[in-house]
């Protein structure tokens, strides 16, 4: 019983990075830009925020640096995808490889470690009971999701962003600066992924681990499609995917057999695969998603 309760509450903590990355990606994709580099943003911002928090001892400063890292990678992705007409998927693949490897290089260069950094000062948690606590971001991130939903559907600028994703030519004719809008949406989305990456270090693990994102960026991408590009449904999706993460850990503790550790670690990925191939909200992708808009 206690395991079950722990799992449901722990799932809130694991929901956070997936939810933040998902709503960031929804914001970006609604403008017509696909950023599969969010896995890389998670890895790199986790690394930079770990370095910042480690050297200054201040986890909040770590967050600021992590968000700035996300913004920088988002700016690169946005500019290359719009003004320079790059292939969005290829850019994302490149960013993922570079970010992962910079993390590994940094671990060795700064801490002389191949697997994990020393302890990083982390954020205070809200304690619920003995050994059970949740992060403040578990409460904040759903509010952020609602804010993104409101921003996209109820504000003028949100409408403009969606217009760029649906029909950039018409948007341009209406006087919207499509490229500028897309770059902005990509930077904002990447900043949310930057928060997610920092949270992995400063909120969950309290150290930087090689390849810390462990596919969560792609699970977030799966969640984006699952949610039908709706930040509100993304909360539900992120909780389900976070639950799979928490379930894998609870089962490992409950069963205790070391031999089963590897099969249990497959749970989040098998679950994600099953969910995206079986369930789908009745919604379609933004019409111009991923297609380069070439100005005449």
């Amino acid at each position: 019983m206690i395991y079950i309760l722990t799992t449901f509450i722990n799932a809130l903590n694991f929901m956070v990075p997936i939810l933040l990355a998902s709503i960031g990606e929804i914001l970006t994709e609604r403008s017509g830009i696909v950023n599969i580099g969010i896995e890389g943003i998670l890895n790199l911002s986790a690394f930079t925020s770990a370095v910042a928090a480690f050297t200054t001892g201040n986890p909040f400063l770590g967050f600021v640096v992590g968000i700035a890292t996300g913004a920088l990678l988002g700016l690169v992705h946005g500019v290359l995808s719009t003004y320079l007409r790059g292939d969005q998927i290829i850019i994302g693949i490149g960013v993922n490889i570079v970010s992962y490897s910079i993390g590994v290089l940094g671990l060795i260069a700064l801490w002389k470690q191949h697997g994990a950094s020393p302890r990083i000062p982390s954020l205070p948690l809200i304690s619920i009971s003995e050994g059970l606590s949740i992060s403040l971001l578990a409460l904040v991130s759903p509010i952020l999701a609602i804010a993104v939903w409101w921003f996209l559907t109820k504000t003028d600028i949100g409408l403009k962003i969606r217009a760029c994703g649906e029909d950039p030519r018409a948007a341009e004719a209406m006087g919207i600066k499509v490229f500028r809008m897309q770059v902005m949406a990509t930077v904002l989305g990447a900043m949310l992924s930057g928060v997610a990456g920092s949270y992995l270090v400063l909120g969950i693990v309290s150290q930087f681990v090689r390849g810390i994102a462990a596919g969560r960026g792609f699970i977030a991408l799966a969640n984006v499609a699952f949610s039908g590009w709706n930040p509100l449904i993304a909360i539900l999706g992120a909780y389900i995917f976070g639950f799979l993460d928490a379930l894998a850990i609870s089962l490992q503790i409950a069963i205790g057999a070391i031999a089963l550790a590897y099969p249990l670690r497959m749970i989040p990925y098998i679950g994600t695969l099953a969910i995206v191939s079986m369930f789908r909200w009745r919604a379609r992708a933004p019409r111009y998603l991923g297609k380069p808009y070439i100005k005449e």
Binding site: I36, V76, I91, V98, S101, L105, I108, A222, Y262, P263
Partner: protein
Amino acid sequence: MRLRLAIARIEELATIAIELSLSLIVGFGLSLIILTLFNYPALECISTMLTAGFTDINYLLNRATPLVATGIAFAIPMLAGLFNIGSEGQLYIGTLTALVIAWFTANPVLALLGGVGAGAGVGAFIGFLKAYRDVNEVVTSIMVNWILYYFTIFTLTYYLFDPAIPHQSVPVPPSARLSVINLGIGSVGIAFVIVTLSAIAAHVILYRSALGYAIRVVGYSLKTAVYAGIDPRKIQLVAMTLGGAFAGLGGALYLQGYIHAVDVTMSAIFGLGFTGIGVALLGRANPLGIVLASIFVSGLAIGGQIMELQTGAPPEVADIILGLVITALAVPYAYRTIVAMVRIRMRLARL
């Protein structure tokens, strides 16, 4: 007329050469900055990487073998408009299947075919989900990679470990290994010969067959394909299956031809699929270009290991460079604009 065509062809090749060299310059230039930021002797690192890996030709070709295969594994689906990021997992399962079959039958051909089949099966699974269930192939690929990563480690650790060396898998029996053949001027691994022949076969399929034509039409435009009477779904499925088959082939060949056993952390084969993406892009998705690109990239990787011994910088530096080059290769338009601007300048200067 013929002269015109020849000139156009030369101009096209020149543009490609400019694109590739500018991308490489961007990749190496930015890595110099990153290395300096981390306090490594950047110039020494890069110059070691560019030279040290190319001295032992046989070793170079052995290391290039799986990259040729994973490069093609990315290139074929890419020409059909799909991104096969799953070559990483397809290579794992190809290696594992080849190892199991080799261990039980000691038959090199069966092991090789098993590896190809296992990779193809995974490719077909991803392709099926994309074509018939409209699930993004990038997402499925990554999920499948992680599942197969843990599956392979689990199997190696608990069922296939070598009692004498517990951190290693059982070895491929000598009779199932692919040795070297003597070509008169020198000897070369059979695995490299097989992969080169497969690359030629891939080239023929892609550019000289009806199937290859259909693949390229689907990649160019789904609508055009439908008008031309091609079923894009079937072609997507076939392209992903072919891609998976190549990745599986790469794993089997590397195992039987060179490493003969896998360490239980899979460090010997980890990353070969992802590196194949860079190889495919550097080789312009052309199988013969991919053979050259994989030799270059494996030279970088070997140079990276030698660099680690000399400077302490980890071999992942090679991955950073490759990732930067991939990103730089994604924006050919930027280089074309630069070339066009230079041309206009030159013309203006002549006036």
